[in-house]
């Protein structure tokens, strides 16, 4: 596979689950990639190999398996640093997922840096993971939580950010790089510039960005960045918090336990160096190690190719879907402004019913609030259908999705 020739067929061959047949022997059409992606053989084999040949706890032992495991574990950190252009490897903290990464910041940074009278800003299109921790923090501290609204195209109204920032009270802006429901790509450079001008910190929820486009953390200039391995070909149970060293150094620990300490005495304890200070307990060793295989896989394809494949698919899907009677599409209509995620409703049929009916055809989409109830309230819907693409998605699969909607129309006599 060359970086310049995108062989969809070769890629699909690496993903055993794509051969699954579901329900009445229907070919699986997996369009739920924003929830979690499938895993290539390269990742699955890495897990098997690890447990068959190397499995050990890490960091503290001198025996052969422990040394092998420790090294492999730290190699993943190096690969992430390279993949995202992070200068200091010790700024990369392994956590369970994006959710834990954000909670870690809310707890370890937030509790000491956000006070009564301060403002934390988030947006209407955030995932619950980037709302609830800030609700908890602001309710506890007496700070205020403000939202940047979205316009009719599903884009943020950044004038509101200007307004909030002009109060001089904003301590943190917590914002998605890409919306998990609308696919909207945030004008993140602009947001960060505005915040830097007034000294507000920026946390970027990159759960839907890192898997789908080239992300360069050094050039972004934000303060915190979070993402999950399972949304980018990697195993479940691994996520990353990146944060500037100066911030991490001054933050209190999150969880207490093994590995995060330097010396423990009965009544006083000192903390380990970064990043270990924030990695308490036995980490998810096997999955962190195998996450490296996912990064290798994406690197080999090339993130620009991933992005252009998705853009092409999205363009194709939007064009076809715009011709379907009774279909409402939410979010940007310009595939350049969005990632490979399309949210829609079909007539007045509840998304749950749509998803159940097309599932009989093997088509797996997500229906519901997508952990974005604030956005649902804004769109004035209880839920939406969401089809989300990835490196292995084909135009034929998009066709199957659209054709399946006819069956929905039939059942509901539309």
């Amino acid at each position: 596979m060359q970086a310049n020739t995108y062989s969809l067929e070769e890629i699909r061959n690496d993903f055993p689950v794509l051969n699954r047949r579901v329900r009445d022997d229907k070919k699986l059409v997996y369009l739920d990639n924003a929830a979690t992606t499938q895993k290539p053989n390269q990742v699955i084999d890495a897990i098997t190999d690890y447990y068959q040949n190397h499995n050990s706890n890490i960091h503290r032992a001198v025996h052969a398996l422990a040394e092998e495991s420790t090294e492999a574990f730290e190699v993943t950190r190096d690969k992430i640093a390279k993949f995202l252009n992070i200068q200091n490897r010790e700024e990369i903290v392994f956590v369970k997922g994006t959710t834990e990464a954000i909670n870690l910041v809310a707890y370890s940074w937030g509790r000491d840096n956000v006070q009564k009278g301060d403002i934390v800003v988030t947006t209407e299109y955030e995932h619950h993971s980037n709302i609830v921790p800030w609700q908890l923090l602001t309710q506890e501290t007496g700070a205020e939580l403000k939202y940047i609204d979205i316009d009719d195209d599903g884009e943020l109204i950044l004038e509101q950010l200007d307004e909030y920032l002009s109060t001089g009270k904003v301590k943190l802006v917590a914002i998605s790089h890409v919306s998990n429901v609308l696919g909207t790509i945030t004008d993140i450079h602009n947001v960060i510039k505005k915040c830097k001008n007034v000294g507000a910190k920026v946390l970027v929820d990159g759960a839907q960005a890192v898997p789908h486009m080239k992300v360069d953390i050094a050039s972004l200039g934000c303060d915190f960045y979070a993402f999950s391995a399972h949304k980018m070909l990697g195993p479940t149970g691994v996520g990353v918090l990146w944060a500037r060293k100066e911030l991490l150094e001054n933050m209190r620990p999150f969880q207490g336990g093994g590995d995060m300490i330097r010396e423990v005495h009965k009544h006083e304890t000192t903390w380990n160096d970064l990043p270990y200070k924030f990695e308490a307990g036995t980490p998810n060793v096997a999955d962190v190690i195998c996450f490296a295989a996912a990064i290798d896989y994406l690197t080999k394809i090339g993130m620009d190719n991933v992005r252009s494949h998705e853009t092409e698919l999205t363009k194709y899907a939007l064009e076809k879907m715009s011709k379907v009677k009774g279909l409402t599409i939410y979010g940007p209509k310009d595939p350049q402004k969005a990632s490979g995620v399309i949210s829609f409703n079909f007539n007045d049929v509840h998304p749950h019913d749509v998803a159940t009916i097309i599932d009989k055809n093997g088509v797996a989409i997500r229906s519901g609030h997508h952990c974005a109830q604030v956005l649902m309230e804004k769109l004035n819907v209880a839920a939406t259908n969401r089809a989300s693409f990835y490196i292995y998605t084909t135009k034929e699969e998009v066709d199957t999705l659209i054709d399946s909607l006819e069956q929905v129309a039939e059942v509901f006599k539309l």
Binding site: H350, T356, H369, A382, Q407, V411
Partner: protein, 149 residues
């Protein structure tokens, strides 16, 4: 798609024209419940007179299954005594709509089917506890509601 085990004529019909849909102002009992996993969200309103359900309505947003089950549930309990409603079981509701199979086949959709029943059990639980001082019934109802799905 004819013979679809879920989307029967009856369910489609009820979802388009739900029965007892609306609000009772100043209802004796109002109970809100929602499905954290999918966002279905309903309010159930009950009036109790003479230890009977003298009136019942519901409103909110939900899928066809939720709408149909809420409709049928409200039809089934209207006029019934609290004692009968206390004993009302989920199988009665599901079989009325031919949805018993959901318990086995779809752990996710069963929650849509039983949301209004859960609201009902929780709703009368507090009535038994506060208005009728029947702590035992209340306890059972709460337990039942919590373990419905």
């Amino acid at each position: 798609m004819s013979g679809d085990p879920i989307y029967t004529e009856m369910i489609i019909e009820y979802s388009r024209n739900p029965s007892n849909y609306g609000k009772i102002e100043d209802a004796h009992i109002t109970r809100h419940d929602s499905n954290p996993l999918c966002g279905d969200s309903i309010d159930l309103y009950l009036n109790i007179d003479d230890k009977k359900i003298s009136d019942v309505k519901f409103d909110g947003k939900g899928c066809a299954i939720c709408m149909a089950c809420s409709s049928v549930l409200t039809e089934m309990i209207k006029g019934k005594s609290l004692e009968d409603v206390k004993k009302f079981e989920k199988d009665e509701l599901l079989s009325e709509l031919g949805l018993e199979h959901l318990i086995k086949t779809s752990p996710v959709r069963i929650k849509c089917a039983l949301l209004s029943l859960k609201a009902l059990k929780y709703g009368i639980y507090s009535y038994f506890a506060e208005k009728m001082n029947d702590v035992e019934s209340a306890g059972n109802l709460k337990e039942e509601a919590a373990n419905l799905y």
